[in-house]
Amino acid sequence: MMNFKGNPAHKFAESPLLQLSLPPWRSRLMALLILGSFSLLIGRAFYLQIVNNDFLQEKGESRYRRNIEISASRGRIADRHGDVLAISTPMKSIWAIPSATSLTPDQSRQLAALLETDVKQLTHKLETDKSFVFLRRQIPPLVADQVAALKLPGIGQNKEYRRFYPTGEMTAHVVGFTGVDDKGLEGVELAFHEQLLGQPGGRSVIKDRRGQIVEDVGSIKTPQDGKDIRLALDSKIQYLAYSQLKQAITDNNAKAGGIIVLDARSGEILALANWPTYNPNNREKLSGAQLRNRAVTDTFEPGSTLKPFTIALALDNAKVRFDTIINCAPGRLTIGSATISDAHPHGALTVAEVIQKSSNVGAAKIAAMLPAQKMWEMFDDVGFGQVPRLGFPGEVSGRLRPWKRWRPIEQATMSYGHGISVSLIQLARAYSVFARDGDLVPLSLTRADSSMPQGARVFSAKTAREVRTMLEMAVLPGGTAPKAQIPGYRVAGKTGTAYKLEHGRYASKYVSSFVGFAPASEPRLIVAVMIDEPSAGKHYGGDVAAPVFASVMGSSLRTLGIAPDIPLVVAQSPQSPQSPKTLAAKAKL
């Protein structure tokens, strides 16, 4: 504390004369003004910090924060051994903003050379009114890097995925293809679209001035790549099937054809090929005929390949035995106003010989012993008239009329495969009842994991074995298809030669088919071949389709390393001494 009384100067200053006598309102006014200004400032701060906060934060963030999409690729499709059948790989698309682009003639030339177009086309594209044009889509990343190195103004690029099918036309119908935006349009690409499709992810990051990512902000959404699909298909068998089918169609001057190879134990589809086909990598000129997956979407009257089912039903119901004599003379049978005839007239045949010689009359006579309902139920049980439900687009059920409306002649013709229509895949699957012990195996497009599926029982094991023996006879000399024999293996199978229906009438055009399985002692593979309109002189299933069966089945069995079930014939190979194993095999037989 200081003492003012001891200091005269202070006393002077405190003189009442010098006292400022301001009116009190002035100081109050000033205080109010200052208060007002402060509240204005506070108000503004409140507005910026709280009311308008989101907008300003966003503006601030946009200066440094970037949202990046992390792309996910579509899953691969591979065969059972892991060989790639379809794969997506990133490509670049080059775009331009015409108004921002100004190229010197030299630059245009360089760019045109890299994009593999000519300068004229390029300048034409750049002279449009559009604000954005693609100069070229889906070019290899290396070329795109060269384009980027030119550092042209107004020209940029973005990443796009392109799907490749290295096996091309060979697997076209099974694998199918995708359209724009990775949408599956055909085959497995469509059937497994949901699983193959990936979910793109995203993240938001802070970028520095150099464009480098400095920090992650917020949560990262990880991309989900599409699942890889492992098909049951075996590329090697597929190729064998495809090339043999193609060869046979060329040789027989046929219109179309299909082939299926099934694993009799697991129900897996090891090969499925059609002709005509297409190259999925280049789909510019594509016709409907090429696109059709005939083995699944086209039905045909199967002809004699259905006889074994009629016979099996009769055997199963104890209407006949394998050695019951059926009188097939004189090779004609009249039911109502219609006449059934055999291609070659036969006399009295046993039931087994009806299959071996493929007698229509014999089959019709056996069918006459069976009630229509039973026959319909059997056809239904083996899958005729039902959609196979593999997921392929355009799968068909075929035609199987309800039994209540069958006329007697219909039941007779159906016994040998006319008046009923099936797809090749239905036919191949139906034969699994003979290749297995009477049960129908469910089919699988994807590789099955070791578990052996149990099928639905249709015939008894005894019946299935008896029919199997009859089918073996059909392939042996004296049968309809000696050309289906394979050295080293016992083969069982049935030919089919059916007239084609055109406008409701049978035309003199044929569908030749062969369905069979091997090794007959313990069937592993089922092969079904269908050749549409062979027109090079031969048209019988035994001449047209059976050789295809033999070569595909033979090479497939060898590829899979399935042991032969016929012992070596020593006379054929004087050099090679008979191995003890062969002798043992002989003893077993």
């Binding site: 690729s73 691969r76 060989d83 790639v84 059948l85 794969i87 997506s88 790989t89 990133p90 490749f164 290295p166 096996t167 091309g168 060979m170 480098q212 990512i213 400095v214 920090e215 992650d216 590329s235 090697k236 190729y239 090339s243 394979i486 050295p487 080293g488 293996y489 090794p519 002692s521 313990e522 592993r524 033979g554 060898r558 899979l560 390393g561 399935i562 042991a563 032969p564 079930d565 016929i566 070596l568 054929q572 190979s573 090679s576 191995s579 194993k581 062969t582 095999a585």
Partner: protein
């Protein structure tokens, strides 16, 4: 009193510098991670391309063409095929 204040001041400065350094290091490491992740993606893409190449070069039609045309190979006639049971082969 003064000594405590000086000590605290130094501590604050030191901590501040530490924070700056570790932030810097974190960013460096983060960038390195980004580079490696990008490399991983590139390798993934390259793997896909190599798989594609493998499938293309190893496709059955190409192998057959080379075998037939260049190497003059052919499949044996059916009479010449003698089936044998190899050791290790799956028996039916």
């Amino acid at each position: 009193m003064v000594r405590l204040n000086v000590f605290l001041l130094l501590a604050v400065v030191f901590c501040g510098l530490g924070a700056v350094t570790s932030q810097h290091k974190a960013r460096k490491l983060f960038q390195a991670l980004e580079v490696e992740l990008e490399r991983a993606r590139q390798l993934e893409v390259e793997f896909g391309q190599l798989q594609l190449e493998l499938s293309t070069w190893g496709s059955a039609p190409r192998i057959e063409k080379i075998a037939r045309e260049k190497l003059k190979m052919r499949s044996p006639e059916s009479e010449k095929i003698i089936p044998g049971t190899a050791t290790g082969a799956r028996t039916p």
